[in-house]
């Protein structure tokens, strides 16, 4: 009957094995989660980093007066009659001259050779010329965007084999591009313009940028901050400090915790029905987007603000009341400043959530193709009333394009978005660490 403690019986061994198995399940669950994160991040980075680089062709472009300025006196009205289509041959001729000078064999037709240069480049040169008519007649050096296929070739997305099947390029074109790259005429370099340029049409993925989207997201964040923070703080103060415990406040509380769990797309429907159809605000405008995101973010801000207010010990309130301050004064002079770091942290996290939100914005028309930078205020459209897109919506937009060159840009936009979120969260963590108080 007596068993020694020093020997393990069979049953204990079995139970210890079960214990080890259980632990292994737990550990593997954690590793699955971390592995998923790793795959997610590496695939985003590896697919998206190349979008920050762009292929450029450096050409000395002769700007002939007979083609670009029929008037001969630099009359802008006459000059602007030459469209971008008129500029394309000028660029192609510059490229031909370059090939001749470098002694590179050119089996391509003129049209196919012109396809090495992005259609956007003609517009860029035209804008430069119209801005400075004196350039006509001179030979000017331009860094011209290469077309999407050439760009893809230098990034490894387009190969000789795929080019052979592609109507937009050919192996011969790639050979020429390679020869130009070997002598340094074609270069792939960091492209700031990715963050500045607006979106571009399907034919010119190489010119598509995030400018409008970043601006739109920024406007919306301003709207959210200006509306959600004061409203959230005010309603938290009321609910936490003043509200009597009755059915009405119970209803508000239940309501807030439910609103926090309502699917975001429902807010989109709300925005469409109330702000656009009923109040007739402009579709696609950052104002409507900001309002929708404000309503969506409010519960988050209220919940974290109330937690911050709750963590201020009652003794502070008592102390203020004790020297004759009113309840309102004790809250605004003492409790609120002490809760401020917590409130700010919660607000930043709410903003970060809003920045990444996509679904509701699709419904209020922010998927539209927008190339004009939206103004913050115009008398016609009002405050933040001009059409814009937003970062996450731009990502969605690019996934819907037929040209795969946009996919790289979608990942690039995701990296940009994640960097913004990282910064916001880092600030939130810093605030929490810096001002965290233990009572």
């Amino acid at each position: 009957m007596k068993t020694s403690l020093l020997t393990l019986d069979a049953r204990t061994k079995k139970r210890n094995a079960a214990e080890a198995r259980f632990k292994a399940y737990g550990l593997s669950a954690i590793f699955v989660a971390m592995f998923a994160l790793l795959i997610l991040l590496t695939s985003v980075v590896s697919n998206g980093l190349s979008s920050f680089q762009q292929t450029f062709i450096t050409l000395e472009v002769a700007l002939p007066e007979d083609k670009l300025d029929k008037s001969g006196v630099r009359d802008l009205a006459v000059m602007s009659r030459v469209t971008t289509i008129g500029y394309a041959p000028v660029l192609r001729d510059a490229l031909l001259a370059k090939l001749d000078a470098l002694d590179i064999e050119n089996p391509l037709s003129n049209r196919d050779l012109g396809n090495l240069i992005s259609k956007q480049s003609a517009a860029t040169v035209r804008d430069r010329v119209l801005a400075n008519p004196d350039l006509v007649g001179q030979t000017v050096t331009f860094d011209l965007l290469a077309s999407g296929r050439i760009d893809g070739y230098f990034k490894g997305a387009v190969t000789m084999e795929s080019a052979a099947l592609d109507g937009n390029t050919s192996p011969e074109a790639l050979t020429i591009a390679q020869a130009l790259a070997d002598v340094g005429v074609i270069e792939t370099k960091f492209n700031w313009n990715f963050f500045v340029w607006p979106d571009a049409s399907v034919q010119r993925p190489e010119a598509a940028g995030l400018g409008v989207a970043i601006l739109g997201s920024l406007y919306m964040m301003i709207v959210v901050l200006v509306l959600a923070l004061p409203i959230g703080v005010a309603s938290s103060i009321y609910l936490e400090e003043f509200a009597p415990k009755n059915r009405w406040t119970d209803l508000i509380e239940v309501n807030i915790s439910n609103l926090a769990a309502v699917p975001s797309i429902v807010y989109g429907i709300l925005g469409l029905a109330i702000f656009i159809n009923f109040m007739e605000f402009n579709q696609s405008s950052p104002l409507v987007g900001g309002l929708v995101l404000t309503l969506m973010t409010l519960p988050t801000i209220i919940i974290s603000t109330r937690a911050a207010l709750k963590s201020v010990p009652p003794s502070i309130r008592d102390a203020a009341l004790g020297v004759g301050a009113s309840k309102m004064q004790s809250v605004f002079h003492h409790v609120l400043p002490l809760a401020a770091p917590g409130i700010l942290t919660g607000t930043i996290i709410g903003l970060a959530q809003a920045l990444g939100e996509t679904a509701p914005l699709l419904l209020i028309g922010m998927v539209a193709f927008v190339r004009e930078y939206p103004a913050a205020y115009t008398p016609e459209a009002g405050l933040f009333g001009e059409a814009a897109t937003a970062l996450p919506v731009q990502v969605f937009n690019w996934t819907q394009r037929s040209d795969p060159a946009f996919f790289e840009r979608a990942f690039g936009a995701v990296i940009t978005l994640l960097v913004f979120l990282l910064i916001m969260n880092a600030v939130a963590i810093y605030l929490r660490r810096r001002f965290e108080r233990r009572w």
Binding site: A18, G26, S28, F242, I265, I269, G356, P379
Partner: protein, 400 residues
């Protein structure tokens, strides 16, 4: 738009003027010695500013609501009313400045009003959601038989009309994707939470916890992109095609798997809270009887935490049902009733997006169906949330 901006500037100017007028008048009343005043000059000034600003702003809100409802246009009359309110408010509060006047009490009443107004915005949001969807849904059912909406097994909207708009295939896709997502997320999230709270050493916890939190902070569009370009093709090339399940990259499995990853942190942080709420004394009791840790967890901690864990599961379900971007990019747009998880199917949220974006005619049933779908989604998720929050709250109270 322009006249409104001007109006706002006028009110602002009046407020600034009121501030200085009130201050100087208070000093004047006090005869240079502010100790004679019951309220400080700045409190009088605050009261004047609030009295000048709040009534006209409230009036602007009400008037614009009225104009929207009646489709009317702004007129000089309304402008006069608004400015009149501002001037009256300012004048009354200025006249009210006396030695014995309790300006602080008045100012605090205004502020309290603002606080209460702010707290009702949450209620107004809910009312707005319900009303906006309800009215359009009623519109929809005026044009389309509700029995066909709820019982038809086809969803094939057509531009020229005569569409079949049954919700069943959409619900099926929604539930199928959610089911797959939860069968990944719940075990993984739960086990991760258990391991982190009961076993993990400091070092692992300091790495794994933030990593899982990072997963929670990633926007859903990123998960959607991940599904569309990485997981979908991967599943197709390594599972679906070799095993003969089909050759679609976007599928229920793709969306479900990625949504599962998205839900892991959600499930694990909720479970973590719930597991930690089980009192230590209960664990001690079991360990003291010679149970191993895993026996304690499986037979004491989890049964004790079960209601909370079920609540967490329901909240996760509601999340999965309402998730949009992952299914838009990962699950497809074809409404289908199929059992094969490697086939593309569609969900309620996908159809809400597709029916409300693009060129839409707000009178056609093909567009209005989105509101009926939205309302259905709202009712389902609301029910799940209310029930889950109720369970979780009851559970918490039990151990408080």
């Amino acid at each position: 738009m322009q006249s409104l901006t001007t109006l706002l500037f006028v009110i602002l100017a009046l407020a600034v003027a009121g501030y200085f007028l009130a201050k100087s008048r208070a000093l004047q009343v006090a005869g240079g010695d502010i100790r004679g005043l019951v309220s400080l000059p700045s409190q009088h000034a605050l009261n004047t500013v609030l009295s000048t600003v709040i009534p006209p702003l409230a009036a602007i809100l009400l008037i614009s609501l009225y104009l929207r409802l009646t489709d009317g246009n702004g007129s000089w009359f309304f402008t006069l009313v608004v400015i009149g309110l501002a001037v009256t408010g300012m004048a009354l509060s200025l006249i009210g400045i006396k030695q014995q006047a309790r300006a602080r009490t008045f100012a605090e009443r205004w502020i309290m009003g603002l606080l209460i107004f702010a707290s009702t915005i949450a209620i107004m949001t809910t009312v707005g959601i319900v009303l906006s969807m309800l009215s359009e849904t009623i519109n929809f059912f005026g044009q389309y038989d509700w029995r066909r909406f709820f019982f038809s097994t086809e969803f094939t909207p057509r531009f020229q009309g005569d569409s079949e708009l049954g919700i069943l295939p959409l619900l099926w896709g929604t539930l199928y994707v959610s089911f797959i997502a939860l069968s990944f997320a719940v075990p993984i999230g739960l086990f991760a939470a258990i391991y982190l709270s009961e076993y993990a050493g400091h070092r692992l916890r300091s790495v794994a916890k933030p990593a899982i939190e990072v997963l929670a902070g990633i926007p859903t569009i990123v998960y959607g992109l991940f599904a569309l370009f990485i997981v979908g093709p991967g599943l197709r090339d390594y599972f679906a095609q070799p095993m003969g399940f089909g050759d679609s990259a976007i599928s229920v499995m793709t969306a479900g798997l990625v949504m599962g990853i998205m839900l892991i942190p959600f499930v694990s942080s909720l479970s973590d809270d719930i597991i930690n709420a089980v009192p230590q004394s209960m664990r001690d009791g079991s360990l003291g009887l010679g149970a191993t840790k895993s026996e304690t967890i499986r037979q004491v901690v989890i049964p004790a935490a079960l209601p909370g864990i079920i609540g967490a599961g329901l909240l996760a379900t509601s999340r999965a049902i309402g998730e949009t971007m992952i299914v838009v990019l990962g699950a497809g747009a074809a409404a289908k009733l199929s059992l094969n998880p490697f086939e593309a199917m569609t969900t309620v949220t996908v159809k809400i997006v597709s029916q409300l974006t693009g060129d839409t005619d707000f009178a056609s049933p093909e567009t209005l169906v989105a509101f009926a779908l939205g309302l259905t989604l709202f009712v389902i998720t609301l029910g799940l949330n209310v029930f889950a929050l109720y369970i979780v709250r009851k559970y918490r109270e039990q151990y408080e």
